[in-house]
Subunit: 447 residues, 2 copies
Amino acid sequence: MIDHTHDPVARTWLAPDSEDTHAFALQTLPYGAFSLPGHDNVRRIGVGIAGHILDLAAAQQLGLVDDLDGALRPALRVPHLNALLALTPAQWSALRHRLFALFVDDDSGWKGARDVIRQCLVPMAAAHMHLPFDVGDYTDFYASIHHATNVGTMLRPEQPLLPNYRHVPIGYHGRASSIVVSGTPVRRPSGQVLPQGQTAPRFGPSQRLDYELEVGLVIGGENALGEPVPIGRALDRVFGVVLLNDWSARDIQAWEYQPLGPFLAKSFATTISAWVVPLAALAPRRVAVVRAASDPPPLPYLLDAADQSSGALDLDIEVRLSSTRMRELGEPPHLVSRSNMRDLYWTPAQLVAHHTSNGCNLRPGDLLGTGTVSGPQPESRGCLLERTWRGTDPITLPTGETRRFLEDGDRVEFGAAVGLTCCGEIVPARDLTDHGRMPGMAPGAPD
Amino acid sequence: MIDHTHDPVARTWLAPDSEDTHAFALQTLPYGAFSLPGHDNVRRIGVGIAGHILDLAAAQQLGLVDDLDGALRPALRVPHLNALLALTPAQWSALRHRLFALFVDDDSGWKGARDVIRQCLVPMAAAHMHLPFDVGDYTDFYASIHHATNVGTMLRPEQPLLPNYRHVPIGYHGRASSIVVSGTPVRRPSGQVLPQGQTAPRFGPSQRLDYELEVGLVIGGENALGEPVPIGRALDRVFGVVLLNDWSARDIQAWEYQPLGPFLAKSFATTISAWVVPLAALAPRRVAVVRAASDPPPLPYLLDAADQSSGALDLDIEVRLSSTRMRELGEPPHLVSRSNMRDLYWTPAQLVAHHTSNGCNLRPGDLLGTGTVSGPQPESRGCLLERTWRGTDPITLPTGETRRFLEDGDRVEFGAAVGLTCCGEIVPARDLTDHGRMPGMAPGAPD
């Protein structure tokens, strides 16, 4: 069956609202949650196209989806994507095809509805974006063998890659409460760090603040606890993808992470893009898995012929950085790295199948990060720890400033080929002299 | 101020509904969520006392809390504790004092309301208990220095305790979706394990299934992202405690945990008690922190005079185990270990202060596990890994059966001095030959 929503020559009749070519093509149709100025508590879900947002609650109210599955309609009135995520791939597909039909420039029956469609549009530039979904559990994987090898080389030059890496998708549980939407300022965390050459730690602002360039898989549907998802059905559980910045405080991480893994070094903030690109929109980017001849074959529960032949995603992603000084001088953000999701060692389907292989239940709104997406080249390393090789090889910005790690005022912007962006700006650490005085709380002993 | 809710000689006028002395004293008044047979979807929150449950929605409806803070009343109609958790310590305290007044056997004005109170009671034996609150983020600490030392001795005899242990409360993020209420069967997980002497893993049922005896702190209130909770106010964020079993598959854990910590070895199930004992009920159990003279002083953000003098909790907890055979023979559960929460290296306040020290936001319904609570004696080791010393020193059950790790049909029951219980029975692993056929899903390739 030909899926018209991938037709590369299809165009929309809708005039773009902005010159921003990243404001989403007809073939992308991403989902997000927005509000309008002065109505911050009135949130809606919408679809991005050509600099506009189609208000899905309005579209539902004005009859644009009346003939679709009855379960879809109430989901469009919920102010976040979770109700939509709880539906099935068939329902997601039906909605996507309807949205494509509404906006494609052809002579279908929907041509007569364009005035109604226009009533449901909001200029993207006027909208305030919120977290697109309530994040349930957040898991972060470590799926880039290049990233794992680089980090391992710094820590264990004699054994860069641990013996388990090529067999088991390494992952850990992350913090969901501190996931924020693109554009939210990120406060530099304080924490315990062990100063070089000392045996006792001090507490203070992190001096080695980093980003991590990742893609997040947004989970839809639910498997019962105890019931694994077989790899052949695993992609049915991926609604779409976001860009994800797993901000990391490397000095806090180095001190705390043994033996149970990263904790406060990561839990101060994680940023995701405001828009979720449906997996269906990435179908033309599905490519074969490439493994080295020396790599062991995946165990049967991670092996699926269709996944091996088309389970990797050819998605270019990049990091740009601007300092306060650069922005004062009107300099555009500086390209720091560019990598591609196809270089990951594990596919999205393998991550889902592995995650549930012990019976763990994934729920709608769960988020699976890929881990830092690094490629084989130095310019494709997805975090500063790797890019500056632990700070020993600083990058130089157009202003002549150098960076080993992030400075206050730095703005980090991720971009992806489909038009996703994910950005955050570092604000200074909290004044520690104020540590004992919380806003709205009188000082005093506990009850 | 004298808090009458701790008066050890106070008694309730209510006749106990059962002979079970663990069915909660007047001084305990724990909270839970229940339904009645045939009405599984009609859930209420309630308070346990003497084998009865006070239906809080009914109590609110019949006017027993009419004069309390207006924000309390709607919270009592919500079918889980989260709305109550979102309130303040002052509101929690007001409710507790009212509940005590309703049930204490004295001549107060509430004596005349006993017929109304009786209308709000349900026999505990008839109720079906549910998860008491929707768990947000679940964090698991590693706060027992005895546990950390024992495990470290097995893994690194030359350095049992890592250099960071006495400085930084070690913790990691856990999986919230697979947290289940006491009594829920626990399916033996399958996963990748590395057979002894081999270099490639196999996938199959865990052969080293274990429990971990823990206490969970139930978080109330919310701090804004970026705003740490000072240690002097940290206990205001602890609504109460549960018993927690952090089921662990040691063979899966050994293979997967480097370098990012435990993942699928833990995420197949975590059991918590159906009842949450308010921290206020544990006030008589608050004791001074005892540290060895050689232990470093906590960094200032973890140091508070009141916490040092009364921040530890003297709470006995224990593990009992019964095999299928024991139950067939009518044998009572066998006491395997008994330990005490006061032996933890870090206090609850220190765990909260540390968790938020990087600005991480804790939200109502978050759960903080202490980690396995082991004491200094062999009989106080809180998991089989330690108790049987990695299986080298099996325990013998009254039937003559031995245990290195858990067998199918084993039932593990935790108990605490205040009457909390937390139990789960191991059911056999899922048949792996059925792996590709999920209920309700036709086999086939992904779309």
